[in-house]
Each structure stands twice: as C-alpha cells, then as structure tokens.
C-alpha cells in the first residue's frame, strides 16, 4: 500500500521569489521530493485555493492587507508553518522602507517619479492596501520554524524538509544557517 503523501503549500508575500528559486535549485532532488510530497497551493503549481496541508513554507514579510489574509489562511490550514528567508524572518529588503513614512514612499514612486503623467497615488480597490510598516511574519501569526538566509541554500532547504518529513529533530550544519 502506498502511504498518503504529505501535502506542502508555499507562497511568497513581500519577497523576491529568490527563496522559491532556491527551492528549484534542488534540481534532480525535486524528483525524490515529488515522490514523498504533494504540492498544494504554490507559485510552482499555480493552484489558487489552499487546501488542508501538513506544511506551509512562507517566503517574504507582510507589507499589505492581502499578505495578512494569505498568511492567516496558511496558518489556519497548515499544521506546520515555516518562515523561509530573511524577509519572512525580519522583514528584509522590503522593510527598508520602514524608516520612511508611507506617504514619502508613495510620493517618491507615484508623484515625484520621473516621466509620470497625471501623477497620483493609486487608489484602485483591486490593489492591496499597504500597511504603514513591513513586518516579519511572526508578528502576525505563530511560526513553528524559521530558516534564515537570503536565500537559504537548496541544501539547507533539502536538509530541513527531509528531516521534518522523517519526523526527526532538525539538525542543520553551521554552514547551512550561518553566513559569516
């Protein structure tokens, strides 16, 4: 009898998809992975609706209202939620805007930017509204594991997923999570 495969979902919030690229860097190990897990919602599957999952991998911090909704949905539907990469852990590059007011940021792009015609701050309801600051994801939901790196290497992700799936305590070597 074939064991039911574990379900994994992934998403990128305020991130650059670099952590997802790192996931793809698993290369041929992706075949091994595919035998053991089933991908649910993820930019790699293009599934839009999140089902009940065992593990959720989150890249990126929280910068807007949509991020909050997505993150909370992931928390509600994933047994284990993992923060992957510097932006999810600390806010990262997008959080560099935290030293400015939101007004200054938006005006820099949409009012004072070069070559603008009819310059104005966009207010279309289809565009998610920005939070005044960018937050790490642990400030919005409970996170079970954090995997540092910008991005964490494919090896790091591989070790982590393997050990998590096998139910053992996760041990990462120094080089896999330190960058000094």
């Amino acid at each position: 009898m074939i064991e039911p495969r574990l379900k994994i979902a992934t998403c990128s919030l305020a991130g650059c998809f670099g952590c997802h690229m790192s996931l793809l860097d698993l290369d041929e190990r992706l075949f091994d992975l595919a035998e053991r897990v089933e991908l649910d919602r993820s930019p790699l599957t293009d599934i839009k609706e999140l089902g009940e999952c065992d593990v959720g991998l989150i890249e990126g911090g929280v910068c807007n209202a949509e991020n909050v909704h997505v993150l909370m949905e992931f928390r509600a539907r994933c047994k284990i939620l993992v923060a992957i990469g510097a932006c999810a852990l600390n806010g990262g590059v997008p959080a560099m805007r935290n030293q400015y007011d939101l007004k200054e940021c938006l005006e820099e792009s949409y009012v004072r930017g070069m070559g603008l015609v009819n310059a104005q701050i966009p207010s279309d309801p289809e565009i998610p509204l920005l939070l005044n600051k960018v937050h790490p994801i642990h400030e919005v939901v409970k996170i079970d594991y954090s995997l540092p790196g910008c991005p964490p290497s494919a090896d790091t992700i591989w070790t982590f997923i393997n050990e998590l799936l096998s139910g053992q305590a996760i041990v990462l070597s120094y080089r896999q999570i330190h960058y000094d």
Partner: protein, 605 residues
C-alpha cells in the same frame, strides 16, 4: 565669521581649563554644552581640533550619553524622572500638565527655543518625588502649584540662579542609623590610624571586618585592595563609584550629601594602603547639584591637611581627589564601563579579566569601590575590623543602607545590620499593605508577600540598597513594563543579545500589558530571558530580564488576567496599520480594512 571665531574661543577656553586632556573629554563636552545649550556638528569638530583627536571619537561620546545633546534644546531643559516610584506619585499627569502650561509636546523644543520637556531614567529622588531635572539641576516634590511657579519662571525667562531655592531642596530623610551613620566620625581619624599603624595593619583590619562591596555585587573589599596593592607598577588609582543609577537607589546621594568627609577619608585611606596618589569620584550626572558643594569639601580638606600634598604633615603621603561628572548612562555604574567613561570614552563595559585591580584607569592598577564601601572602610580603620564584624551574619558583615521608596509612610534611608528580614523593614517604614518588593532595583529581584520573611544579606537576598514597595492597589505589571523600557534606554548597544533582547522584551511586555498577549508570548518571554541571561556581555543585559522572569514566577495572576484566550495574537493592530494608506488613497471599500471578525486571527489547526 565673527560667531565662528567666538565659538573657537569659547571651546579653546574650556579645553584649556581642562589642561587639554583628552581623558577629560566628557567633562569638556558637558562644559561646552552648558555654555551653548547643545553640541552642534561644528562644535564637536572644534572640540576634536582643540584636543587633537578624531572628530568621530568626539561624536561617539557626544551621542552616547543621554545628557549630551546633538540636536538643539530649549534654554530651559526639563527632564521628568520616570522611575516607577515617580509614576506612583503621579509624574505622568504632572508631565502633561506642564507641557500644557508651556504649550510644548513631550520630547520637543518649543518653536521659540525657550523650553524642552522630556523624561529621563530614575534621578534618585524616589523618597521625595515626583522629581525632575532643569538644566541638570534637581527639582523635588513636584506638584501642580510648584509647576505653575516653574512655568511662570520660564515664561518670564528668569535665570536658573534666581529661582527660589526651595524648588531645589533635597531632603536626606535619614530614618534609621546604625554603626555607619550613627556614630560620630572625627575627620582625619582614619588617616591618623593608617599613619600610626601602617597600611599592613589597616589591611588586616579590613580582612577581619569581612567588608564586602556595598554596590551590590559583594566582592570582598580587602581582597580587592590587596590585589591592587600587590599589582606591579608605581602609578595606581582609587575610584569611588557614585554613579548610583539603579532605579530606586539613593543612599549614595545621602552619603555624598551628608557624609562626604567620611567617603573622601575612605578613599584617601585606600590611596595610602594601595599606594595611589590620585582618586576620582564618578558622580552621576543626576547629582550635579552636589558638584560645587563637594568641590568645596575637597578644598576644605586640602586646607585642613587631609588631602593633597603631605597629608597630616607626612611628606610621603600625597593623595588628591577629582570629581568626574557622568552624563546619564546607567551602564557606567558597571566598573569597567565607568573607567572607560573616566578616560573620556563612551561607556562600554570591558572584557574581564583582566580586572581593574591590575588593569584599570589608563590600564593602571585601580580600586573601584562603591561610596558606602569607602565610608565603611574609613570607620573600620578607626574602630577596627572586629567591631564591624560584630554586626551582620556569617557571610555578610556589618550594615547595609537601604533606600526605601514606593508605597510606605516613611520613605528614606534605613541602616540595618545585614540579616534583617524584609518584614522588619516593611514594619519600620510603615508599609502595611505590601504586595511585592522590587529588591536591589530592576536588575535585582521581585519578591511577593510569601517571601517577606527572607533576610537581606548575601546568603539570601543580596542588594545594592534599592527597596521599592508595591502595595495591593498597584498593578505589578506597571512596574515590570516600566523596567523593561528602562533597560532598552540604558542598553549600551555593544552586544546583540542585550541591544536586541531588551527591545524584544519591551515589545512583548507592551503587548501583554495592553491585553494582547497570549500564553505563547509568555513562553517567548521566558525563552528570551534565558538567552539574555546566558548571552549578554555584561551584568546589565544579564539582569535585564529579571523583572519579567521574577514576576512570571511570583505574580502569575497579574499576567493571567490579561491574556487572550486565543493561542496567538498579532504583535500590532492590523487594521490601524492600514489607516495611513486609507488616508492617502481615500479608500473605504471592504478591502481597505482588516477587521478581526473577517480574519482568521489566532486560528490554529
């Protein structure tokens, strides 16, 4: 150009007054600021030029100390003391009251440049608060009518020197004296004793006395003196740590105010014993009002032959004392940070060993003792070690000065033999309804009524002297939150576990205190506390989580009643975080809100 050359001249005068010594940089910057109200980039560059040191070094010092300003301040600069004891006495209401009267917001300078109002850490006036500093000088027992007077003085631009003296009056509130404060001490008697009997005999008395450091750490004083005496080198130093920054402590203030001769005599004695000719008193910036009286006392002692050249006529006995004024940095109470500050640097604790007894001020052997320790040493030289050791317990000889404040009828200074119970102190100070005591300040321990039979001594409850009483009406977490904010402000920023840890602890404490915390947050606080205790570079960071960890153990109900029943709560108000964007875009569609009922907040599988 004229202004610029005047600036140069002013700075040159001040630097020359300090003999152009870079070790006096902090004192120089204090004096320059006194003249110019703040330290502009141009000012700092001139100071660097005059001292021939790098502008970055000058900047690093100017930016480190709370009482040095690198942005313009008002001609009248008012800082309200913001210890929990000041809060108990209503300082926040008074702060807002004065801001209203003078039409200025907290932390800002009024547009006409007349006044700035802000807050500062405990100013050591807990028994006569709410307190504040105006241009560095202590104001006590503030109330609305005093503030009305102060507001009028400021609006009328009356110079500080002409303000009524009673605003600045500091009481000693000496409530109980034992052998240290209770017996008369004849000036010079300890110095006569060391001249008559010799340093070795005095050291023997020190060993017999069992005297331990009264700042709180309790290291054997005789061992320190002996180690420094035996350290190689001819140039040695004596440093008196009067940087009494631990919130709730004010006993050194009373010693310096009423018993300065005893303290100076203890320092001079130490100089003779270890072979030092130079001593420093590191007086905390908050006690600036004592600077001139203390200088006068030093001068009187020089004239009486008790200080300076050929003390008591002995040409081999030369020792003088210089007072170094701090500038609002709690971390400088740590002895190696204090030495850094004395050397004119920003106060970051050194890596120890080597210890100051071999590598202290300017890397020379140095004894650093607390004010009370020097006072006790002077008495021991006269009365003998056995006399001192007859008081106290097996491991804690002699007496301890307690600074009692908070919810009690008679706040002030109490001298007890070591081994006294907490209950006895509560009885004596008239605290009938105590719920808990913050012993030894925020860095010490919080105890609940279950532990009031414990004894104050190194074997049981060690203390530097702070004793803050919280009665049943108080919310213990108000205190814990106040302390968490205190440590963020006072972390020197050198090591990550402290710099980041204190901020994370503050955020978690704020979250819990405002009713947004969950059990998960309490567990996070415990974890973070353990990391800080294990990972911080110095005592500041290692003890910073104490109030949180103690209160979690001693007062769990204070936390329980605030917790949300959910497993997790966001760290900030999600919907409020969209307000700015709503304003900027003018949006009011459903997507422009994050309402709790629409979210899966706290939802867990």
């Amino acid at each position: 150009m004229v202004e610029s050359s005047m600036l140069t001249e002013t700075i040159r005068d001040i630097v020359q007054h300090h003999s152009g010594m870079p070790t006096r940089l902090l004192q120089i910057l204090r004096d320059v600021q006194d003249r110019l109200t703040w330290l502009s980039p141009e000012t700092l560059e001139r100071v660097a030029e005059e001292l021939s040191i790098s502008p970055n070094k000058v900047r690093s010092v100017a930016e480190f100390y709370s009482f040095l300003y690198t942005t313009p301040r008002g001609r009248y600069d008012i800082l309200f003391s913001d210890n929990i004891t000041d809060r108990m006495l209503g300082n926040r209401e008074l702060l807002h009251y004065l801001c209203g009267r003078l039409k200025v917001s907290i932390g800002e300078t009024r547009s006409d440049g007349l006044v700035t109002i802000g807050t500062t850490s405990c100013t050591g006036m807990c028994d006569q608060g709410p307190a504040a500093l105006v241009n560095g000088y202590t104001l006590t027992r503030l109330n609305p009518s005093r503030l009305d007077g102060i507001a009028n003085l400021i609006e009328s631009r009356i110079p500080l020197a002409e303000w009524p003296r009673e605003l600045f009056e500091v009481y000693s509130n000496l409530r109980r004296a034992d052998i240290l404060l209770g017996r008369h001490f004849a000036d010079g008697s300890a110095l006569r004793a060391v001249l008559k009997r010799g340093p070795e005999a005095i050291m023997e008395e020190m060993v017999k006395s069992g005297l331990r450091g009264q700042g709180g750490a309790g290291f054997g004083s005789a061992a320190k003196w002996i180690s420094c005496r035996n350290a190689p080198g001819n140039v040695k130093y004596v440093v008196c740590n009067a940087d009494e920054g631990e919130p709730g402590t004010f006993k050194d203030r009373v010693l310096m105010q009423d018993f300065a001769d005893l303290v100076f005599e203890g320092m001079t004695l130490c100089g003779r014993v270890i072979g030092a000719q130079h001593g420093f008193v590191y007086l905390r910036g908050e006690y600036r009002y004592m600077l001139n009286p203390l200088k006068a006392t030093l001068q009187r002692r020089r004239e009486a032959g008790l200080l300076g050249e050929a003390i008591l006529g002995d040409i081999s006995f030369n020792f003088d004392i210089e007072i170094h004024l701090g500038a609002g940095a709690y971390v400088c109470g740590e002895e190696s940070a204090l030495i850094e500050s004395l050397e004119g640097k920003h106060g970051v604790p050194r890596i120890r060993p080597p210890f100051p007894t071999t590598h202290g001020y300017l890397n020379k052997p140095t004894v650093v003792n607390n004010v009370e320790t020097f006072a006790a040493a002077a008495k021991i030289a006269v009365e003998g070690g056995d006399w001192f050791a007859s008081r106290g317990t097996a491991q804690s000889k002699g007496t301890k000065l307690l600074s009692v404040s908070g919810d009690c009828e008679r706040p002030g200074i109490y001298e007890y033999p070591f081994g006294i119970t907490v209950n006895r102190v509560l009885e004596d100070c008239g605290a009938h309804d105590a719920q808990g005591i913050q012993m030894a300040g925020p860095a010490g321990h919080m105890i609940s009524a279950k532990q009031f039979d414990r004894r104050i001594c190194f074997e049981d409850l060690a203390t530097g002297g702070s004793f803050m009483v919280f009665d049943q009406k108080r919310d213990i977490l108000d205190g814990v939150r106040n302390f968490a904010h205190f440590f963020v402000h006072e972390s020197c920023g050198f090591c990550t576990p402290c710099r980041v840890g204190t901020s994370l602890m503050r955020d978690l404490m704020d979250k819990v205190h405002t009713g947004h915390g969950t059990r998960y947050d309490l567990e996070e606080m415990r974890k973070l506390g353990r990391i800080m205790q294990a990972g911080c570079h110095c005592g500041l960071g290692q003890t910073a989580p104490n109030p949180v960890l103690d209160s979690l153990d001693q007062f769990p109900e204070a936390y329980e009643r605030r917790l949300r029943s959910t497993a997790y709560e966001p760290a900030f108000d999600l919907n409020a975080a969209l307000e700015e964007a709503r304003q900027l875009t003018g949006r009011s569609d459903p997507g422009a809100y994050l309402n709790e009922e629409d979210l899966l907040v706290g939802a867990m599988p």
